[in-house]
Point group: D2
Chain length 367, copies 4
């Protein structure tokens, strides 16, 4: 098996998750490439060294250009704040290296467009970090829909809700400043991606974006913490998406229900190993939502465990991403979701903010 | 205990439910009045006689005026189609009798307004049949909110979803003709009432109303089967309501979640004896949604059973309505929800249809 | 429709439930007989009069012999403490009247045997009040098993758990004195009946019966509050039953799971309108427990409501019992569960106490 | 950070799980030792080489003595069938190396005793692979009980149920031959360990062990597939444990409920990120089982993810074991569960088989 040198920009929440994923992925999956943890980059030399030692990288640096240009780094993972994504990605493509970028792709549609253009121009493999759609359960949901198992989709309801800012007495920080760090910029992309993956493109929407807790510790909050939109999908289905980080009681509320002419699917990430399926089949008296526990019969489960119901967790999603990224590199064929998907998600975010400001329906294509 | 003669117009789904409720209510609750089932009215003499015999009424008639004017009938229950509600109610008030009218109050805002005016002019007790808000669980939810148990309400999501028209091959009938019999006319009033009861008046909304199955058996369907709106409540909370009778797999999807600054409440009528409450209290490690089973400690439960968790059902909601109606008559004090509430619900329905037609936000007060 | 005069001995918890059931049953079900509430009996004239007025009986009495002999009473319901069941039943049969007796049938096997003998000798209709097995869900579970839907039954786990005596600081009362009022005497009969109804006779068992809170308010408790047994059913299945009234947090824990060679059924009375069914059918990836909501497709549901998922409650079980009792009387054909079932349940209780005392397996037939 | 060379005997189900765990553990946790995957051992050179390449070991071998004696191997993981555990462990201790052994410890009490003696004599760190008790949820359950959060424990119900042998048409293999590979030998140890960890030692028990499917493909099955016992714990609590691999529909039924005088805890591994807690606190009307989602506030969760509710999975349990084993080695202090726990679990298995054979209660200490 060939090796591949990995460089990760960022050693925080997601930097660590990717480091652990690349450490384990080749043992779990039959990848063609075995990763070597080469360089980790953080804002200071001290923190870079700390991450290097903790995660087992060969080298640390506080300069992402250094990382990008290091010949030992053969693939770049961007796990730094969204404001850095564009420049790092462009440099990596220029250096002829494949790039995995955390969500959201860019801070704006323009940035994401530039990133897509650069990816295309370079011909390099590119992928964006929408991990939740990669659970075995959500992959299976996609498959069921594609196979027509629930008929034509008539309605979609999705949400990404958490409560880490529900307590009004929490002081503000960078998360409560700037649209990119708001609920629409930060949480919404996951479920917008989910909706697109499961149902298809969103053509028009009407949104309501707001800030429930307008000041924190006496300081004005400059971004949103709760938002919703109604929408129409390209395939005709009606939809509703809701996003909140003040949803008291919700910890990982990435949840959806999909109504079809022949069945319904329900999912809630808080019980990520179960998918609920109803089909209009069999005798009336025996119909009901089936709670399907994920197992080796579902996508990307078996490498983690041969036993059904034994369950995968958050970290495993990142491992699945790593597997897909390595596979794309090995085969030189992009695997969904590429930067192009990240761009389309940004466009929906953009349309949402515009619609809310205007108090009117908007066409997503106009953004 | 004094007796009171009951007349019920309609002997179908709800006529039967009310007949059974009045047969049992005085045994279960300590009402001041004991009902006598006097007259039942249906469209033909034959069916009226059938209902009379089956439900135990003294007399049957095919003329609701006959029922209304019978001196033995001291209280009138309207359980006939919505097109009849207005005329029957007006006649009953004119005859000086209290009226309980099934939802929706009138077929239009104008009809409902006329009914409210007649009620007021007559000074008679009046009540509208929103039964779902009367489960012990939903009454308790109202109480929790009123007491501030979850803080300020920040978001409300409600739905009333069923699937009795989900099968596209079902032939159409009266239910698939005429706005009043559509999903907005028929199902939506329950949850609009629920939202108002739990959160308060809706000031503005933006709606999407549609017909998923446009023809049935070759005949055009002339009303909606799926609808949603986003809204703003008078108290500032954001909201979303969804209504469907094509929600494959949903049988009694009267469900809501209420986000507050200090907690969250969740409820689903499909498990009507449980209320889920989260509060931002106690150590982080012990927080979670509590599944509270209804019992004698909750409103209107104890008369049905001394044991908690033993559960009430659909028919019991109608008995609670009967108890409240008899109490209102005995005390000559109206009990919520009166016709005035029915009128406001109609107004929201009206605004919803207008908003959808216009593709724009509307103020409810304008309808 | 012919009338039938009802006399109820006892006006407490169950006396009221039966009174309300007989008031409503003929309106809900197409019974051949319409009940008249004739006489209610309680320990004092004052309480009898109170019940009479509250429940709508024609007459009250403090002497059950008076009730039994009143020619207007054509059917006797025994809803007084177990110590009274035997004598009242024998007198009623002697008077040529059908008898419905609350569970447990007698206080002992000997008493129950005498009651069965008297019933047989008199040729009168007789029924015992095991209401929980009569929910639409549990009736449907029986049906599924009978039809072989889950194959051969291999294991049964049942429990009847509540927590009304969980609080150790509660003072004792009659419930904490005497075996007949203990957990085995009072709660266990329901689930023993359930196990027998679902799986069949129990041939042998090994039990552990105990008193968790041995004194209450300084007074010794003389009966059990927690018990379990393992058993073998006649059909070969292994089983386990558990009973507790100190099961902190459990309100109506009448619950069971039934393993079969082709499927599994799970039920919990705390969500009495749902039955969970798993079958070894279809593609592995789509298998799971189906949550079936009761509806018109299930036994004895439709008379309560035409809508599936709308739900029945505790009081409705008593109405179903009333319907069956009236039907048995009208057709002069006994309907399960008759006194014979009550006797067999007593035998299992008796075997359980003996097994626990001996610390050994026992054959049920020996008791 | 110092390195440590890891040798794993076995490259199947658990061999792979441990390999992946050691690849990732030092990135996720702040261990003092960073593992190097040195040697993997399997039955043939070919399979050893396959595992070596797939999991990233330096070397493969088909001789476990070779692995044990290799100076680069500084810690031995035994993930081969139970028949091999004793000899490998003894050799590893003799070679002065710490040993982690998969469950069950030995095939018999005698074997396990020998392993405990060898561990003691050598003074080497030793640990046994009971992974399920290591989920954040179950660790938290232990903590709650220890802190007296649910008062005195009065009842424990545990099960380990799966359905991989439920289909009677499955041909037999090594799993259906020999007591050690039966349901008691293979599945039961996990939940016996769980019961001991949560409640404490089991003093006496009465068991029923059986083979539901006695032949497979015409060949006699020589071990059990379903078993249960009632028991008494040292602390006085009553208990029931059930084990099955023919529990149709159950995929990972490691589940328990623990009744206490002040509360109750419920857990089901099929939703391993939730713990249900009821406490006898606060107003009656607000009591209910809380569904607590695991998060950084719970044991061993934070290293996997900073977000609560994001969830851990099966593989993460093995990583937690690896962390504990490395910590024990680094600090030279054993961490529960050591071989001593494995021995006590074997003793309960032994007592169970004896009790079932005798049809009587037995004292665990006698086995
Ligand atoms: N897919 C998912 O579930 C999640 C994705 N994310 C995304 O991951 C990215 C990183 O977020 P977190 O890990 O939560 O942030 P974090 O604050 O935990 O870590 C950020 C890291 O980036 C480094 N960094 C910051 N600026 C840098 C610069 N100019 N050059 C080099 N390194 C720099 C910091 O030193 C730090 O190590 C964001 O784009 C975020 O939206 C975050 C959380 C969850
Ligand atoms: N609260 C709730 O849960 C429900 C409320 N409803 C409401 O109850 C009302 C009745 O609906 P259903 O009982 O479902 O209808 P249904 O069709 O089952 O019964 C209608 C009854 O009204 C009688 N009727 C019709 N026209 C009449 C007339 N001109 N004069 C006298 N009798 C007449 C019919 O003979 C029949 O007995 C409607 O307003 C409906 O919206 C219906 C179902 C559920
Ligand atoms: N099926 C079920 O779900 C339940 C069944 N039961 C059973 O119902 C029966 C009654 O129990 P509860 O209603 O809970 O008791 P309760 O204490 O609430 O009522 C007992 C009634 O019997 C009357 N009574 C007592 N001794 C009498 C006598 N010698 N002559 C005439 N009347 C007498 C009392 O005045 C009182 O009205 C018992 O056998 C009990 O096991 C009780 C509760 C639930
Ligand atoms: N903790 C848990 O959740 C689980 C624990 N186990 C336990 O793990 C152990 C291994 O079971 P599995 O991985 O399921 O078995 P497996 O059959 O998947 O793998 C066994 C491995 O051991 C190797 N092996 C067999 N005999 C050997 C010998 N004499 N010398 C060297 N290598 C040998 C085989 O080549 C194979 O690689 C067993 O003790 C089992 O009880 C198994 C499954 C789950």
């Amino acid at each position: 098996m060939a090796d591949i040198g990995i460089g990760i920009v960022g050693g925080g929440y997601m930097g660590k998750a990717h480091a652990a994923a690349y450490a384990a992925v080749a043992t779990l999956f039959e990848t063609d490439l075995r990763p070597r943890l080469e360089v980790v980059c953080a804002t200071s030399d001290a923190s870079a060294e700390r991450y290097r030692a903790a995660y087992g990288f060969a080298r640390g640096t506080s300069d992402w250009r250094d990382l990008v240009e290091d010949p030992k780094v053969e693939a770049v993972i961007i796990a730094a704040p969204q404001s850095t994504h564009r420049d790092i990605a462009l440099a990596a493509f220029a250096a002829g290296k494949p790039v995995f970028c955390e969500k959201p792709l860019g801070e704006s549609v323009a940035d994401s467009q530039a990133m897509v253009d650069a990816a295309t121009a370079s011909g390099q493999i590119n992928m964006v970090g929408f991990n939740y759609i990669r659970t075995p359960a959500s992959q299976f949901a996609r498959q069921l829909i594609t196979e027509g198992r629930i008929g034509e989709v008539t309605y979609f309801r999705g949400e990404h809700t958490e409560d880490f800012l529900a307590d009004a007495s929490l002081k503000g920080d960078w998360r409560t400043q700037g649209a990119g760090n708001g609920c629409m910029g930060d949480l919404a992309p996951h479920m917008i991606n989910g909706a697109r993956a499961l149902i298809g493109p969103i053509t028009s929407l009407c949104a309501q974006v707001e800030t429930v807790h307008a000041t924190r510790g006496g300081v004005a909050v400059t971004n949103d913490d709760q938002a919703q939109f109604m929408c129409r999908f390209e395939n005709g289905a009606q939809g509703h998406l809701f996003f909140s980080r003040v949803a008291t009681g919700r910890k990982m509320g990435y949840a959806y229900e999909i109504h079809g002419t022949k069945g319904q699917i329900r999912f809630d990430q808080e019980d990520q190993n179960a998918l609920h399926l109803y089909t209009m089949e069999g005798p009336e008296a025996e119909r009901g939502f089936r709670k399907i526990l994920t197992g080796p019969a579902h996508p990307d489960y078996k490498p983690f465990c041969l036993g059904p119901g034994h369950g995968t967790g958050y970290q495993d999603q990142i491992i699945i991403e790593a597997k897909d990224f390595l596979t794309a590199i090995a085969t030189q064929k992009n695997i969904w979701p590429t930067f192009a998907e990240g761009l389309e998600v940004n466009r929906v975010v953009s349309a949402t903010l515009a619609s809310s400001a205007q108090g009117a329906w908007v066409n997503v294509a106009d953004y």
